[in-house]
Symmetry: C4
Subunit: 128 residues, 4 copies
């Protein structure tokens, strides 16, 4: 049994640096980004994703669900996770997440433009 605190996480998260390149050397793994959500609570998290761009109106919100007591690495190159919405390729963007229950979030990117790929990661900004 894991003893939980009252509020394990935050509800609103911001990822200013998102980018999904179209260049890939082929095969697996391919370049992708993931919004990794850890929900240690006993209720599923309904998370609204809104996508922001440099030169157009935001897209969304689009709801994604992460189960109770689950950790879900939500890949941004999989439109099936976003009700068919496809993140535009080769376009700088940012994401705002709003969850109905507290969760913790980490953003990572794997870039496979070149034979030896590279990783980056950070905990996003959040409202306390």
């Amino acid at each position: 049994m894991v003893e939980l605190a009252a509020e394990e996480g935050a509800r609103i998260w911001f990822i200013p640096d998102c980018y999904l390149g179209s260049a890939n050397i082929g095969g697996e793994p391919c370049s992708h980004e993931a919004v990794c959500v850890l929900n240690t609570g006993n209720r599923p998290a309904r998370i609204a994703f809104t996508f922001y761009f440099a030169d157009r109106e935001p897209a969304g919100p689009i709801e994604v669900t992460v189960g109770a007591n689950r950790c879900d690495h939500i890949r941004l190159d999989q439109p099936e996770r976003f009700g068919g919405f496809a993140v535009p390729r080769d376009t700088p963007y940012g994401i705002r997440l709003a969850s109905d229950v507290p969760v913790s979030v980490q953003y990572s990117r794997l870039d496979v433009t070149q034979p030896n790929y590279t990783l980056m990661t950070t905990i996003p900004y959040f409202l306390p």
Copy 2:
């Protein structure tokens, strides 16, 4: 419609590790850094950049604007974004950002000194 909190972000941000190398293997992408700003508010953000160095007085402040409901990946190798100010190459530096409205910020660097490039990223330090 996205329902917003009263203050989505922070006003003062600090990036202690900036570095813009001059070595590049040529072609695109070239080495660069980006200060990525997400402005989920309904007013444009006027952001004052000040550049700090190890052995000389700070440069700036220089104002950059990011539109309402926009996400802007501001590249530090583009003097046109900074009123002509060119970040010195091969020189360790740091940045302080002061915005008139709350924004969220992420700093990333792409280093293409060698054929297989590398990425790093972090949410900067900010005043709560």
Copy 3:
């Protein structure tokens, strides 16, 4: 002598993006992740690790001890650190840490799937 604050760290930490690949080019270093714990206090830290997955119930908690005035880079590919529990390979997961004394934590991953490896790191999310 180091003069310490009353509470040097936090007790509950969350790492949403963990992944231990099975692909390795062989030899050392091999791909691994580390939960790095810095305990600047005068008492050992007893830390309960719970592992969360996308499609199954959480595993744990499993207790790991970090000595007083010690910094321990706990490798997630070493079941001997976790009472024999082996983190599943090629499986996205997340970790919740609960320490009985305040500690600071950093999560890093070294990926050696390809000849030129890549690193990523972040301070996890924590409860203030």
Copy 4:
């Protein structure tokens, strides 16, 4: 002129994942870590570094000074910055920094064990 807040930064910082490898392919750049300090205040920062290890007593504190209105990328492979103290190679360690004035800090590592190097960075944990 830059208008400053009363407290631009924090005084105590923690970096749990430090590592200075001895393997290098030769030439420049060589593998190194940097503790990057941004001091936007009008007084020099006197910063006490304490080094923590897995299996021995801490080393330090050792004082390093960063000037007012300066950004200093302090390399951990330069004993001259630490009064002659040489960080042990190939040894996991962590750092606690205590500054007499508020500063902001970022930790980065450049690993040149292999021909195509890799970077990682994060804002360390700090006491609010």
